[in-house]
């Protein structure tokens, strides 16, 4: 059992899947000799060569469009978008083509592929190296959207994504790449896409979150426990499909729900989670469904003080959790 950080877990999973299946290949900007701007593919070029670890031209629509074609032919491309902020030039290929191929061909043509992208802020990235983009894709049936919060989950979910018969968007929070270490079995395992995970059990309030804020909420929960309140922390892990059962069960258990994410509040992931609760277990609630999210601004500012103001933190989470617990 190795102790890895999240980017190492991603890299080792790519290596394992490429060893396991000759049809798996990686393509994107600077994924070759350089090993990716975050090192997610470091060393893979040397082991698998320039064709299976392919440096692409600087063209996201082509990275995805070529990936779709390669998937149609039967290979399994793992496309890397260098920063999630740069996925938008590929939006048409993802939404119009990848998401709709199976449906429009009545199941005869399919595109099993993975699109990996680092996302999230708090890394001095400014507007275009900090964005959370998951909510741009979760309204599109035909896609799956996954966000791991731990190295263990990253391996199990990425393996599942690569073996999935449908297109999967796999978003990795840059702020977790090196910040979080955890035990990751060398043995092969997958975590089914679509299952949320109770990262901490509790009976007083329910916190539903994903990505980096999972760790903020866990830290806050430990503090809150000292104050006499036990928080249940549910890590969604899969944003499409969402785990309705787990969401409803977690909400019912405490009757007090706080939804937390780094992305902006309005029309965010939390909206659907809240709507599910308002639809399926309204009368089990003892408090309004709260949301603690990033501010509704176009993207994250660069200068330290403004970035800090934008970002959530264990302190901000604790405050919201405490208020809800005392409600």
């Amino acid at each position: 059992m190795a102790v890895l950080n999240l980017v190492e877990a991603v890299r080792e999973t790519l290596r394992a899947e490429m060893r396991r299946d000759r049809d798996v290949w990686v393509v994107g900007e600077d994924v070759g000799k350089k090993g990716g701007v975050f090192g997610a593919t470091l060393g893979l070029f040397d082991e698998f060569g320039a064709e299976r670890v392919q440096d692409s031209p600087l063209t996201e629509s082509a990275i995805v469009g070529v990936g779709i074609g390669a998937a149609l032919y039967g290979t399994k491309p793992v496309c890397e978008i260098q920063f999630a902020d740069f996925i938008f030039p590929a939006f048409n290929q993802i939404i119009s083509e990848a998401a709709k191929m199976r449906y429009r061909s009545n199941g005869t043509w399919t595109v099993p592929m993975v699109i990996r992208a680092p996302f999230g802020g708090g890394v001095h990235g400014g507007l275009y190296h900090s964005q959370s983009v998951e909510q741009y894709f979760t309204n599109t049936a035909g896609l799956k959207v996954v966000v791991p919060s731990t190295p263990y989950d990253a391996k199990g979910l990425l393996a599942a994504a690569i073996r999935d018969p449908d297109p999967v968007l796999f978003f990795e929070h840059k702020g977790l790449y090196r910040a979080i270490k955890g035990e990751v079995p060398e043995t092969d395992y997958v975590i089914p896409i679509g299952k949320a995970d109770v990262k901490r059990d509790g009976s007083d309030i329910t916190v539903i979150t994903y990505g980096k804020t999972v760790h903020f909420c866990l830290e806050a929960a430990n503090q809150l426990a000292k104050e006499g309140y036990e928080a249940l922390v549910l890590d969604l892990r899969s944003l499409l499909p969402l785990d309705h059962e787990a969401i409803v069960a977690a909400a019912k258990k405490t009757g007090k729900v706080l939804i937390v994410h780094e992305a902006g509040k309005t029309h965010g992931i939390g909206s659907e989670v809240s709507a599910i609760i308002a639809e399926e277990c309204l009368f089990d609630l003892d408090a309004p469904v709260q949301r603690l999210c990033g501010p509704d601004v176009p993207a994250m500012p660069y200068a330290g003080p403004m970035e800090k103001f934008f970002m959530l933190s264990p302190e901000k989470c604790l405050e919201a959790m405490r208020t809800l617990a005392k409600y």
């Binding site: 290949w25 064709e51 299976r52 692409s56 031209p57 063209t59 629509s61 082509a62 995805v64 469009g65 070529v66 990936g67 779709i68 074609g69 390669a70 998937a71 149609l72 032919y73 039967g74 290979t75 491309p77 030039p89 048409n92 290929q93 119009s96 083509e97 709709k100 191929m101 199976r102 449906y103 429009r104 061909s105 009545n106 199941g107 005869t108 043509w109 399919t110 049936a141 035909g142 799956k144 018969p165 449908d166």
Partner: protein, 334 residues
């Protein structure tokens, strides 16, 4: 020199029978399309988008490819390409009537949104030019597997200005992939004429910038088109990389059954199109070379009519997919 005495088709290594077969596909394409317009005018199908004027370009191109071995990501006008690839008139009509057994989409998509898995005809969408990148990816994957395939892909001259065109030709050029990019230039994108659409006026001229041949060919000249594609196909197979071929076609009909070209084309301009009708031109060549005569033609027309009638009646008699099928095939079903 003996070659000079050879007829053009012979010089290309085509027998009279083969040429007649090509013409047969051209005529079948035309007759099916004419029937689709009748059905649309008669309110039996809601929509037609027409290959009329591009039959020589489509059939000439498609004959350079190998059925069930090469791959196709065609565009909506490519009825002729689909027929040569092996799609049957019945299957075409099932799509036109949007029946449940339509092999392209089971009625989920509009007509002319092709797709046929056993024949390597990839499912197409409406947003133009996306399919060029799919062809590049198919060629890339085939290269990895060491398979001998060539990918055909096509769009119109208007669509060739989309960003995906640039990214596709560049990628294919970088990796010298076995792809033949066809642009059917019919001088209009719905109502927008070439001079407001393509800077410089030539799509073919853009090939050089991607390190590939950019060939302009008269898309109403069946043999010229076939020759250009045969060369490009050989080039692709022998690892020399992709080609871009601009076939100068005419659009005889309005853009589609939703359009009326009289709003933006003069009567003279529309009338002049007949002179460039590839069916008429090819027919004349066949007569000239004694490959076709009135008896043969009568028999041919009758045979095609029968096929079109059969396909129409068959398709119309088939059922729509059940309403709940709207929920199927979103993700893999187990």
């Amino acid at each position: 020199m003996e070659a000079t005495t050879k007829a053009r088709h012979e010089a290309l290594g085509l027998t009279g029978e083969q040429l007649l077969e090509m013409y047969t596909y051209m005529l079948l394409t035309r007759r099916i399309d004419e029937r689709l317009w009748l059905l649309q005018r008669g309110g039996k199908i809601p929509f037609v988008i027409s290959p009329q004027g591009a039959e020589a370009a489509q059939i000439g191109a498609a004959f350079a490819f190998r059925k069930q071995q090469d791959w196709f990501t065609p565009y909506y006008r490519d009825l002729g390409v689909n027929l040569v690839a092996g799609v049957s008139p019945r299957e075409i009509m099932l799509g036109a009537f949007a029946r449940g057994t339509d092999p392209a989409s089971g009625g989920k998509q509009m007509p002319s949104h092709w797709g046929n898995r056993p024949l390597n005809v990839v499912s197409g969408s409406s947003p133009v030019t996306t399919q060029l990148l799919h062809a590049v990816g198919i060629a890339q994957a085939a290269r990895m597997r060491g398979d001998d395939i060539v990918a055909y892909t096509c769009c119109g001259e208007g669509s060739s200005n989309q960003g995906d065109f640039h990214e596709a030709l560049n990628w294919a050029g970088v990796h010298k992939l076995p792809v033949v990019f066809m642009v059917q230039n019919n001088e209009y994108a719905i109502s927008v004429p070439l001079d407001k659409q393509v800077a410089g006026g030539s799509v073919a001229a853009r090939g050089k910038g991607y390190g590939m041949p950019g060939i302009e060919v008269d898309g109403t000249d069946l043999l010229a088109v076939y020759e250009a594609f045969k060369t490009a196909h050989d080039r692709a197979r022998s690892g020399q990389g992709p080609s871009l071929i601009e076939a100068k076609c005419v659009r005889i009909t309005s853009h589609s059954s939703d359009d009326d070209q009289r709003r933006y084309r003069s009567p003279e301009e529309i009338a002049a199109l007949q002179a460039r009708d590839p069916i008429i031109k090819t027919r004349a060549y066949l007569y000239e070379h004694g490959i076709l005569d009135e008896a043969k033609e009568k028999e041919l027309e009758a045979r095609l009519m029968a096929a079109v009638d059969d396909a129409t009646e068959y398709a119309e008699s088939q059922a729509y997919a059940a309403p709940e099928q709207a929920l199927r095939h979103v993700y893999k079903e187990d």
